[in-house]
Symmetry: C4
Subunit: 380 residues, 4 copies
């Protein structure tokens, strides 16, 4: 039973819960973490770890993409980011980094200089040739990868990207729907659009059951849950806590599976998750995989090591998300960040190791069954 309360006379709101309120209960025989299998299979692809990188230049340079793919994850490149806009990618990232470092001593909100630099860099036109050239570099490495486009530009850029040999197309805005309507123009109908493509599509973000269900019906292979940022709450008044959003999307997955007699659409959580504990909780709430952002900024191969921003931070008029200092204790090789060893007990490092250990402590050896683990919830 969902719980609803009257916030005022005749105005009802549904009770929702965040990952920070939820915990996993180990109540079965423990297993060895060596026996845990974290394989993630989506469409025709198999990944060793259930992790996608958030499509931001803060993380995903060509080097990072190859590195992350070789470690077993799904790297996603921001197709509308700097890869196709900056002739000198390192120089452009360096400018963001310099502006961000100058904000160092101040409260982040006091200065948006780095966001302004991002906006300036993104005002450059997108050079599809340059983008294709850089994608080729990743393709040459042999790793599977995806490219993110915004819903607005999906129709325009998709053909060139598919020609560049991408494995997955990611259609991602902070919050999208299956059909985007605007006066005096043709609505974007994702179902028609996805049906016209040759590559599998992951689409999102969504935060509720209905929109998740609609996105599943478009033929998407995966649906992203969460806005990938935390500033929607203050800028839009929209911020459904992730425990509820993930569980609702998992319910849509179940209902859609029944409705179609067998089509399984993956639920991928993306909302400023910061620790291996968050990864484990996301899967326990029903996610099939996790889109990771801030924790990967501790990788030596990240675009701006130690700093993160979600792709929506570069919006020209109304950014959602910030260039923020992640302040890892030190920068690490990506392999060590994912698999350890580490002296850090906070789940900020050894990210996959933490997930494996969580599953093992609870007696589960695969991700799908771990979605059934017992949960508890704390108040507020």
């Amino acid at each position: 039973m969902q719980e609803h309360v009257d916030i005022g006379r005749g105005r009802v709101a549904r009770r929702v819960y965040g990952l920070d309120q939820v915990d996993i209960v180990p109540s079965r025989r423990t297993r060895s973490s060596h026996d845990v299998d974290t394989t993630w299979r989506i469409d025709a692809y198999t990944f060793d770890i259930p992790l996608m990188s958030h499509p931001t230049d803060a993380l995903v340079t060509p080097e990072f993409a190859i590195d992350f793919g070789q470690q077993g994850g799904l790297p996603v490149i921001n197709g509308e980011g700097l890869w196709g806009r900056a002739a000198d990618l390192d120089k452009a990232l360096g400018e963001v980094l310099a502006a961000a470092e100058q904000e160092g001593d101040l409260r982040v909100a006091d200065d948006c200089a780095a966001n302004a630099v991002l906006q300036r860099l993104h005002s450059q036109p997108l050079d599809l040739d340059l983008l294709q050239e850089r994608l080729q570099q990743v393709r040459d490495s042999g790793v599977r990868f995806g490219v993110r486009v915004s819903p607005q530009n999906a129709r325009e850029y998709a053909p060139a990207l598919i020609k560049a040999g991408i494995d997955l197309l990611v259609v991602q805005g902070t919050l999208i729907s299956a059909e985007h309507v605007y006066r005096g123009g043709e609505p974007l109908n994702l179902k028609e659009f996805i049906g016209s493509l040759d590559v599998p599509v992951i689409a999102g973000g969504v935060v509720d059951y209905t929109t998740a269900m609609h996105l599943m019906r478009t033929g998407a292979a995966g649906v992203i849950v969460g806005a990938g940022t935390t500033t929607n709450s203050t800028s839009l008044g929209i911020d459904i806590p992730m425990a509820t959003s993930i569980a609702d999307a998992a319910a849509a997955r179940r209902d859609y599976l029944d409705e179609t007699g067998g089509r399984y659409v993956h639920v991928i959580a993306d909302s400023h998750l910061t620790t291996s504990g968050d990864i484990a909780k996301s899967i326990a709430c029903g996610a099939d995989a996790v889109c990771l952002g801030t924790p990967l900024a501790a990788a030596q191969s990240a675009g701006t090591p130690g700093y993160f921003w979600p792709s929506a931070a570069a919006h020209p008029k109304a950014p959602r998300g910030m260039v923020e200092a992640v302040r890892p204790r030190q920068l690490l090789p990506l392999e060590q960040l994912l698999f350890g060893p580490t002296p850090n007990p906070y789940g900020e490092e050894n990210l996959v190791g933490g997930l494996r250990r969580s599953m093992a402590k609870c007696g589960y050896t695969d991700l799908k069954n771990f979605q059934k683990v017992d949960l508890v919830v704390r108040e507020g």
Copy 2:
């Protein structure tokens, strides 16, 4: 169903909710934010944006009033503030600013020097001629504007203000009722008073259904919900959270509409709202418009740029509210503060853009329908 709990044996309290606990759920087809209409119509007037300025000299100088009106909002001047008391308005505001800046390094509560300066400046008698002269300046610009008086002085000052050509009279105390009683004097009966005036009246603040209903029955065109300050909680033990207060007042609006067979009284939220997210949530909870304070202190044309105080901060014996540093990342032209662009992702700038985007993400194109959007509530 409203929820009540026993706080102790036989002592019942009603559960109430704050805007910080509430969020908006997007669950329909998304729209373009260009298709959103934010028009606010009250009485005979039409405003492009559903925003009223809190009647404080911290914001509303003659220049600000004209600027805010030209941007589409309803500027409200504090009729009992410094416009009619300080021969040199700039100098007076400069004195407050200087005292406030000296408090800069300390916890705000440690020093009330700026409040004391306000009290001193307000101890000057009100010169109605001076006030009328300054109001004429705003009137000459052609913008619609309102003037705020306290319930105590409404009867005395209203005639002169109406003669000065104001468009709306705002009768505002932190907390008022339809009838103010005092021993050995004639009670102020707002119904009689409003009935005797030629201009529409907005009255408040109120925080509950009953008082809102009583105020609606006085003939007011609009009712202000909220005390416009947050210090009532510690000074009076009174501080009903806004999600509940707004929803209750909206219920009173609905019931009064039914009772009268069609009179629609506007609900205007005023309680230290700080972001575009707060504006969107207020309307989603049932408000027709929002009275904005602190965020407007980032306007270059504000009375004391970067600092805010509610009108009640100047009370001679028991102020409610404080001269406080708002600390915007930078001062902006009012137009940019309201409509962007901005690199700031926190909803502190591009205030109307944030509202439009929130509505568009939820698939709504007008304010009235946006009051029906789904809500969720988080615990404590």
Copy 3:
């Protein structure tokens, strides 16, 4: 209906609420605060304001006692404090103050030097002659006053105190019961003890219905609710939030009134209340009066101006409560602290003015009826 939850299998706990979660709702015609009557009548005495001073040398020197009494409150002297132990009271208080000021830059918990000074000063024997001499000074002023003794020493010291002409005896420990049992000794039976005295007794603190009811049955004129300190939570694991404690004690008062056919025992709240809002909420929850501590430390006539400790802070082995810096914005004459005017909007000054205004905004003109005002409760 009281609410109970299972914190674990078969282990039930009752839901309780703090004053910080509770607020008062104004829903009637507003009144003028000039029409409010704050008279408090207990036993044969009438006080203009419903305030008792916490019995601590941090506040109550002979000067303060007279001052507080003349302002209309009930000063209570700590009969087991320094009045009867320190030949030079000012010097002793100066030693505490000096130790407390040295702690200034550190987290209070880092250093308990001032508490240690208190313990040393309290290790001096109690000189009843000296105490009586100082009490005489208060008595000469003509104000009504009480003296506090601990339950352990009540039998020993009461005769001398009554001989000194005190108006009320206050038997106060952090947590007491009607009967204190110890092996191999005679239990202290408060009913017998109180029955043997010629002066009315106020006893406490208690935090629950049952103990409050038992104390009422001892013949006490008033019962103190709350432990007068906040460190019981970490030292003893005992800390019932005050909204519930006060409401429960008020229920005991009601039931005892019925049981006796008319004996009305006063409920006095004492638990680190810090603002006029707390005073108003305490009465709204059911208290007849409030025992005030920290806010009075801003009085120029306080024992250690700017610093406060509850009487239990001097316990030789296990103090409850701390010498703490209250950090008022400035020291004030007691009259101004109680009645204003003030530029401070936080309810830290104009303490009685805040209460009067709260009552007036809610449409109440006497304390007894204000106990019926509507309440709301916020989560966590």
Copy 4:
């Protein structure tokens, strides 16, 4: 009735509660704290105080073990810690201390240097002869003591330890189960293992009813509730709050008592408890004894005075727990830390005195009955 909520459609989570939300209610006749008996009897042993030391080298050097045992508690040595790895134990502890002190000015999470030193020191092989030699030193003192081994190494190390004359074997991991399974190996079956030993075993930690019940069925004399660390939440997503965990384990104890017709298995709480209030609350929730960590770091005889780490902090790849500065106001003789006197009112010192006083205020004179004291719970 346990309460469950839908965190999302069809995904249920159980409501759980932390010790910080729970408080004890005194509602009986008060007693003298001198009449309180804190004796803890487990298996054939009797301890004057219901305290076990967390098995960490941060606390338990040979000197500390003897000191703690002589004060009446049960010292537990970390059998897989530095006693058997460092030829010069003082030097090794000094290295950890030096690294920890260098972290002093930084946020603890920014630097894990001390944890890294621990990992290096633990990479030394365990020298059973050295361990036995040091255990002999404790044995010679005549105090009762236990030694902790991990579940993984229990079978290997137990014989040598038992030969060394230990009184209790403690099989402790952060989270364990009665049977640990791993592919291609023989599972560790605690029931068989414990059945084969000549000394009583305490095993844990567990956080839920089912696992507690299974551990009780292994023949353990005591079950540890809690993970002994707080970083499981962020690293594993696992962190059941202790009020619920303890009450659930106490329910298992009750059910197992019934199932066996009389075997009573002790419940011992171990989860970063920091004050005497926490000790009292743990017992009130159902614990028979408490395993204490951080507060004992204020003892002069502790391994690294002023610093604490749980035994799991030394894990080579994925530590749970941190070398952390406890920052006591000053270092104290263990006797004074346990029994006072103290000027510190926060329950950080006089740990047993606080428990005794809590019981006495509630009218209880023995631990078993104190488990029935009334509880209240606050939201969030």
